[in-house]
């Protein structure tokens, strides 16, 4: 598989995973922007960060980064509550969002490269 094909697989897999999450558990629709390559996305990240490692034929780290107000909105939509500040519920909800998004991406990648772990 070429580097371009790998990138396409990841981008399409992420779009599919995020679409699925938003339509089923967040009650919203999202429109993906153009994919960007960022060398060190975590260096200047602010707000809530969730990280999940992937291991196997491919390996790396999946990260969900969002500002506190967006994290509160996502948690509120998921848990049908209102959150003004980032608390345990919000952190747990974002952790689960990353688990579902990266977990579903893993499934897409596994179909091409074989079993992987999170």
């Amino acid at each position: 598989m070429t580097s371009e094909e790998m990138q396409g697989l990841v981008v399409d897999g992420l779009k599919q995973a995020v679409d699925g999450l938003c339509s089923t558990m967040l009650g919203c629709e999202v429109t993906a922007g153009d994919p960007q390559r960022i060398a060190h996305p975590l260096q200047e990240a602010e707000g809530v960060i969730a990280l999940i490692g992937m291991a196997g034929p491919w390996f790396g780290t999946g990260a969900i980064l969002c500002k506190p107000d967006l994290a509160c909105k996502i948690a509120g939509a998921m848990l049908m509550s209102e959150y003004d500040t980032v608390n345990e519920d919000v952190l747990d909800a974002i952790a689960e969002v990353s688990n579902m998004v990266i977990g579903n991406l893993k499934t897409v990648i596994e179909e091409k490269v074989g079993p992987m772990g999170l």
């Binding site: 699925g20 999450l21 089923t24 558990m25 948690a75 998921m78 848990l79 049908m80 345990e88 519920d89 747990d92 909800a93 952790a95 689960e96 688990n99 579902m100 977990g103 579903n104 893993k106 499934t107 596994e110 079993p115 999170l118």
Partner: protein, 123 residues
Amino acid sequence: MALDVLIVDDSAAIRKILQRVLMQTDMTFGEIQEAADGLEAIEKLKQRQFNLVLSDINMPNMDGIQLLGQMRANAQWSDIPVVMITTEGSQAKVLEAVDLGARGYVRKPFTADQIKEKLIGLV
């Protein structure tokens, strides 16, 4: 009959969502208890008889497959229906859960209707 349910997931958010989904069904529930992993679930199972277990697969300490194995090996728990609710999409894990007697499987993310459909006719 009021159903006693055990929800097993390391995510408090998912446990909360599943509680809410259960309350939206037409079923009557008695006790709905939660466990954050398989080990905690085993402790809860020792304390009372449940009519249904909803369990994640990937969890720390003891995962859902191990929990299912322990339940099937114990005469007191072997008939309790277990539905796996998980992001785990690998065919091998799904087949392993089915081989161990899982009565259903729902992929995360899920809708309330998907959970309800799985529960119809199960208990």
